[in-house]
Symmetry: C2
Subunit: 230 residues, 2 copies
DNA sequence: CTCAATTTCATACGAACGTATGAATTGAGG
DNA sequence: CCTCAATTCATACGTTCGTATGAAATTGAG
């Protein structure tokens, strides 16, 4: 069973990669339902049939388009946290350090792949039904790990409040990611770094805010997908 | 020129309203491109032609669906701020007060109309091209006014940083709005109020964070729409 | 050179899309 | 009762949708 045949002499990048790159750009801008397979194939310069041949269906292509960036980014966050913890040798990590571990990898991904922010915002805010499962699997554990690390850094903070504040912070990250191009953060790495720093400051301060035991707050499990259509 | 004829004896709500309500639900869940006019008309129990008759086009219906909620919500924010300022009689407002004026009206709208969060998240994060103009017009001024009020409450804060942090806070609001149903905040006003309180705390603390003069940060005007397709 | 697997390509299918059209239906005013 | 504007409704238009099909072309191994 032969695998990849086409050599690299005439073709700069393989068809499947070209499809993924184009899908990243178009899906990020117009969303799943806003992009047709024909437009996608045309922009990628490949035949329409190549889409089903390489990815089976539009939904699978969409999932793979997102996961190709999301998976390594998420892995990098965990690695960065582990490295920080190893470096600390038992001493508790600063909140800023943990937050930076959460934010820097996505920021770097966003800086490297200009169309990723759109995907990120779309899929984390209002994920299509067919993406929910794989998404939950990938990010659920990471979120849990960071919640534990932060709980260690903020022992006096109610875990429920912490979970809520993590959601708040995630919203901030998504917002700035989604508007990155609009903010002109792509032209200069300096701006980007400065913005990342400001975001770390903002979220860390929010996490540290003293919480006067809000009564009656009782958060559910944060699972429970819903879906209709598709 | 007669206007509304059909009396209210047999029809609970008018056709145009039924269309808006259904549009709110479906657009919130599936987005503009994810909803067909036929499905919309069917779920609303009206004829397909009624959609073009009452709203002219799908885009106009979409804009009106969103603006019907967004306009009064935004107005309420400004009114609440004005009331607070009048009540303060010249004394500077607390950051928490200003932030509450920004957050409470949307929260109330979200509590009253369960499908509004979806619209809000979709349209503020990744607004369709045809909505950008009307959106900018509606929220641009409000954001400016709140930025001024906050600058007065935080005189030592760099305005650039403030603007950035406002974006962060907006992300937090959108995130929690978009996940409101998922978080189970709809069943109990107590949870909702508690979450609102936690969000006010979080954002206020983030706004207050001391900013060690991040060098090289230079934010652009925050305008510049892009668009292709449609 | 041959062969078989891999990849490309043109084409076609039925369904759904947004919108336009004009005929029925409705109901208050003359 | 008749009129007429407002509204509803059935139907049809051209287009685009996602996917399937099978023949052509390409490729590396033997």
């Amino acid at each position: 069973m032969p695998a990849k045949r086409r050599d690299q002499r005439e073709q700069e990048v393989a068809t499947s990669e070209r499809l993924l790159d184009t899908a990243e750009r178009l899906f990020a801008e117009f969303g799943f339902d806003g992009v047709g397979m024909r437009a996608l194939a045309d922009e990628a310069g490949v035949n329409l049939g190549a889409t089903t041949y390489h990815y089976g269906s539009k939904e699978k292509l969409y999932v793979e388009t997102f996961m190709r960036r999301f998976r390594p980014t998420n892995a990098a966050r965990l690695e960065m946290l582990q490295r920080a913890e190893k470096l600390a040798e038992g001493r508790p990590l600063a909140v800023e350090t943990i937050v930076e571990c959460m934010l820097r990898p996505p920021f770097m991904t966003v800086l490297k792949y200009p169309n990723f922010p759109g995907l990120l915002a779309r899929n984390l805010f209002m994920p299509p039904a067919f993406l929910r499962a794989e998404l939950e699997k990938e990010q659920g554990m990471a979120l849990q790990i960071f919640a534990v690390a932060l709980a260690k850094a903020l022992p006096q903070l109610d875990p429920q409040i912490l979970q809520l504040r993590l959601i708040f912070g995630g919203g901030s990250l998504l917002m700035v990611a989604g508007q990155m191009t609009r903010l002109g953060l792509r032209e200069s790495p300096t701006h980007c770094e400065a913005t990342l720093g400001a975001l770390i400051q903002f979220i860390s301060a929010g996490l540290r805010a003293e919480s006067p035991t809000i009564p009656g707050l009782e958060l559910p499990k944060f699972t429970a997908p819903r879906s209709r259509r598709h």
